[in-house]
């Protein structure tokens, strides 16, 4: 069975379970909320960390996303997939945070408070330490390549690559059409193939009949 089909089967089962849990949260069952939190905490924090490139900010945004889910429990109807709904809220929060940081950057530039000509560094101390400890210059290249993508392309790539969401789910999370998602992904990967070209030298493996080459 192809991987994507397996994911879909798993996703369907997950939908049922998540929807069921959320309906129980609606009925006032705090334990069900905790189960949802345990299941989605890590993927959500990771998605937001890669979006804003700052784990502390990402965790605040993830908390805000879960808080909004909790507050909206009374109106919950299992019409959309829970994961899609959660990532839609998270994407909205991340895009707003990125816009705010851009706005702050402009203000600092106007006020002369920030370092002239250098972009506001979103990466926090912890991430910097991580980079130093791991001494992973390749990781820095990857982070930089992702950070340089326009916000919607970045969100589309992260949801596609790391969260394995379907095009339709990504479209729902970003509030655009499936064809727009395909276009976003095509342009994003085109940019990444250029910016990550230096890392490509080691890869020269040909696809074979025995596998899909992924």
């Amino acid at each position: 069975m192809p991987k994507r089909v397996q994911n879909n089967v798993g996703a369907f089962a997950a939908l049922e379970q998540d929807a069921q849990l959320m309906l129980q949260v609606k009925e006032g069952d705090a334990g069900s909320f905790e189960l949802l939190l345990n299941k989605h905490r890590r993927p959500l924090v990771n998605y937001l960390t890669r979006m804003v490139q700052n784990q502390a900010v990402a965790e605040e945004l993830a908390q805000e996303a879960f808080l909004r889910v909790y507050r909206a429990r009374g109106d919950y109807e299992p019409s959309a997939k829970f994961t899609t709904w959660l990532f839609r809220i998270a994407t909205h929060l991340a895009l707003n945070a990125l816009r705010d940081s851009k706005h702050q950057r402009r203000e600092q530039s106007v006020d002369g408070a920030g370092p002239e000509g250098s972009p506001l560094q979103l990466a926090d101390q912890r991430a910097n330490r991580e980079q130093q400890l791991v001494a992973e210059s390749r990781l820095a290249v990857v982070r930089d390549a992702i950070a340089r993508l326009p916000e919607k392309q970045r969100a589309a790539v992260l949801l596609h690559k790391y969260e394995a969401l379907e095009y339709s789910q990504i479209a729902d999370a970003l509030g655009c059409s499936v064809s727009a998602v395909k276009s976003l992904l095509f342009r994003a990967y085109e940019s990444l193939r250029v910016s990550l070209a230096d890392l490509a030298a080691s890869h020269k493996k040909r696809p074979t009949e025995g596998g899909n080459g992924s």
Partner: protein, 168 residues
């Protein structure tokens, strides 16, 4: 196999057909025969490998505590009234399409300004309110009216004389 499908399969390993299938063989043949597709495939594989370097992080230990504190601090939700129910579509619109919502709001403001705008009229030449120009036809009417009043007064005097002083 059309170009769009080949590119989609290059960009998304999850969309590739099962290994050994006719479609998979067709995909491999496309890669073998087209240097462009092959180069794209190689570069895309490198992108996957590079992206895999960014390993997931663990949320901090205080994540849940912070969340529950925020939940406790957040005000209890007021029961939804008719206005909040009516405002929900607008709320969704503003949340999901902030740019479009702002654009529409700006358009409405501009339309309102155009509808209510009344250009200032040029100042009329000053005319003294005390002086009224009277045309010749109008002055004749006034003269006639004054004559009538005079005539009526004379008539009234004659009537009074005819009735005698005892009656006055």
């Amino acid at each position: 196999m059309d170009r769009e499908k080949v590119i989609e399969m290059i960009l998304d390993p999850g969309r590739r057909p099962a290994a050994g299938s006719a479609e998979h063989r067709a995909f491999l043949a496309q890669l073998e025969n087209s240097p462009e597709y092959w180069a794209m495939y190689e570069q895309q594989q490198a992108v996957w490998e590079a992206l895999a370097l960014w390993e997931p992080v663990e949320p901090s230990a205080g994540f849940d505590r912070g969340l529950y504190e925020r939940i406790e601090r957040s005000p209890a939700r007021a029961p939804a009234g008719i206005w909040s129910w009516l405002g929900r579509p607008a709320e969704w619109f503003v949340t999901m399409r902030p740019g479009l919502a702002a654009g529409l709001a700006a358009l409405l403001l501009i339309a309102g300004a155009i509808v209510t705008y009344q250009p200032r009229r040029a100042a009329e030449p000053f005319t003294a309110r005390g002086s009224i120009e009277i045309g010749p036809a109008y002055s004749e009417e006034i003269e006639q009216a004054l004559d009538d009043i005079e005539m009526l007064a004379d008539f009234e005097a004659l009537v009074l004389e005819a009735e005698g002083p005892g009656k006055s």
